[in-house]
Symmetry: C2
Subunit: 338 residues, 2 copies
């Protein structure tokens, strides 16, 4: 790129016949400038097709006007509404968004941190995408961070935005028990140590307990919150015969694999086995049968998380814990009629 072609604030200043300080003022509206002067400066800007150099502004003003998002991956239907909410929130607040997906395969060697205090004003951190050590470091220098779907490490006061996992799970399992008379309910866990999964399992156990059903560990499998792992886990379980009457698949993605495995083994859903999910992903209503699930306000999580983060950046008060409500969505995969 021929950088000589690129106009700077000085070019604008000389063309308009003012100082660079004045140009800066009209660009930022940071103090009173005479109407005529404004006109001249704006004309010069238009003439030169001038765009302020972002890095120079950052360096001089010590604000990046950018928030960072750390994700474990960009895939799965779950992240779509999350990203949509975050994008929207950032736009509303006038911040740019820098996204980085952490990849376990790459070692963290070297100084260069992809996202941090050197290129953002604050960070949104999704479950397990930043180790506790780095979280501690950011906290120790007072850098704004908001956690998504993940509690902070012990004794660190970092704001969190998440959803009512436990009560949502409890409600849907209760629905299986009370409305459909289920007693032997399989639960498919998410990835190991995944907090959403941990809380959903608590809700599952609570519902069993409330209705006098003994918890049976052999009905709990790891499904990893994805179709493949879930299909395999269920196929393995089915090889011992169908020792269950229903499945709470942990999330909607898993439900896809679960239904495939059941079909392949010749079982009908919901006639032979009731299946329910969690999230109310975009595809849930178009599954066959339409999936009974728990609606999670994922887009709102994204939006609210940005709001919280921006408040921290502006040194305003924030909620230490924002837990958004979930809601039971009855469709047909549990055995209810349309």
């Amino acid at each position: 790129m021929p950088s000589s072609h690129r106009p700077t604030i000085s070019d604008v200043a000389s063309l308009a016949g003012v100082s660079i300080a004045t140009v800066s003022r009209v660009i930022n509206g940071s103090s009173q400038v005479a109407g005529q002067t404004i006109q001249r400066v704006q004309a010069a800007i238009t003439d030169l097709k001038y765009t302020p150099h972002a890095a120079a502004r950052v360096l001089a003003s010590r604000k990046t006007n950018t928030i960072g998002l750390l994700l474990p991956e960009i895939s799965g239907a779950f992240f779509q509404p999350l990203l949509r909410g975050i994008e929207a929130g950032a736009q509303e607040a006038g911040f740019d968004l820098l996204i980085h997906t952490t990849d376990d395969t790459q070692s963290n060697a070297g100084i260069r941190r992809p996202l941090g205090e050197h290129n953002t004003d604050g960070l949104l951190v999704f479950t397990d995408s930043l180790d506790h050590k780095e979280l501690r470091r950011l906290h120790s220098i007072g850098f704004p961070v908001v956690l998504l779907h993940q509690a902070p490490p012990k004794s660190l006061m970092i704001p969190v935005v998440t959803i009512e996992n436990q009560s949502g799970a409890q409600k849907i399992v209760e629905h299986l028990i009370v409305v459909h008379g289920c007693r032997r309910i399989v639960f498919l866990q998410g990835p190991e140590d995944h907090e959403d999964s941990v809380w959903r399992e608590k809700g599952y156990r609570q519902a069993l307990k409330d209705h006098g059903i003994t918890f049976n560990p052999s009905l709990v499998l790891r499904g990893g919150f994805n179709p493949d792992e879930s299909r395999q886990a269920l196929t393995r379980l089915l090889s011992n015969g169908k020792g269950f009457d229903s499945i709470f698949s942990g999330d909607d993605d898993s439900a896809i694999g679960v239904i495939q495995a059941l079909r392949q083994a010749g079982w009908r859903v919901p006639e032979d086995v009731a299946v329910v999910g969690f999230d109310d992903s975009s595809f849930a209503r178009t599954l066959d049968p339409p999936l009974t699930t728990v609606s999670a306000p994922t887009e709102r999580v994204g939006r609210e998380a940005v709001r919280q983060l921006v408040r921290i950046i502006r040194a305003e008060k924030v909620e230490p814990r924002l837990i958004l409500p979930t809601e039971l969505v009855i469709r047909q995969s549990c055995g209810c009629q349309a």
Copy 2:
């Protein structure tokens, strides 16, 4: 954030007892430094938990080491593999990724361009997310740009990465004609002026022509590449009775709406109407019935686009047009057996 807490290159230099130039050299490996000196500097860096300030490096070195991605939205199953590929490509090349979704509702007033030469070394531009005027401006200053799924405006030589839309569409329509004896084939267009849609329609018409079927404009509807619009379009068409034997729904997202509309009207897929899509989205195989479609190498598109862009940034030669192959994927929604 207490910026006083943040160590700078000077802090590292004094702790290590060297000049800041030397610190810069060990960080960047930009020239020979004595082994002992390196050790001392690295110890100081570790000690202070020093991270170089990104904006300062950008300003001094005149490179951002960042590529920008302009998208019309982040949603729809289509964007997942695209983002995955772009993320991967950027990581491989050692570039950061800045994402901005353009929103038609916001006017482009003001100087502040979200993504451009002031904060990136190059831009990936997806269909219709940047107007021709801005594209011209970027081209005129020699700024690296790669277009995705979109040809450049007339006379601008901007590299493109896209897929074989026409031949893919032609193959799948041909399959309907030759294997399933279809003659009255509905085509659902994407959004207006969407290039993928234009090429797919060409493939559709070519296949008809090759097999002596007269093109019937009343069988072409706008489906917008989304389930809702497609469902409505088809429901409208069905109100005149079922004057067709099959549907090429333009993309997989549309196929969802198409199948819903058919079911609601009491028609079976594929017994009464064959339905095929395009993309081979993640959900295509789990639809009911599993969707016959055209597999698009969307992840590869993302990855290759980054490669091209990086080559331009490095002033290396690039392909002016990279067109990745598509492939017919036969499942059951066309009437074939499993």
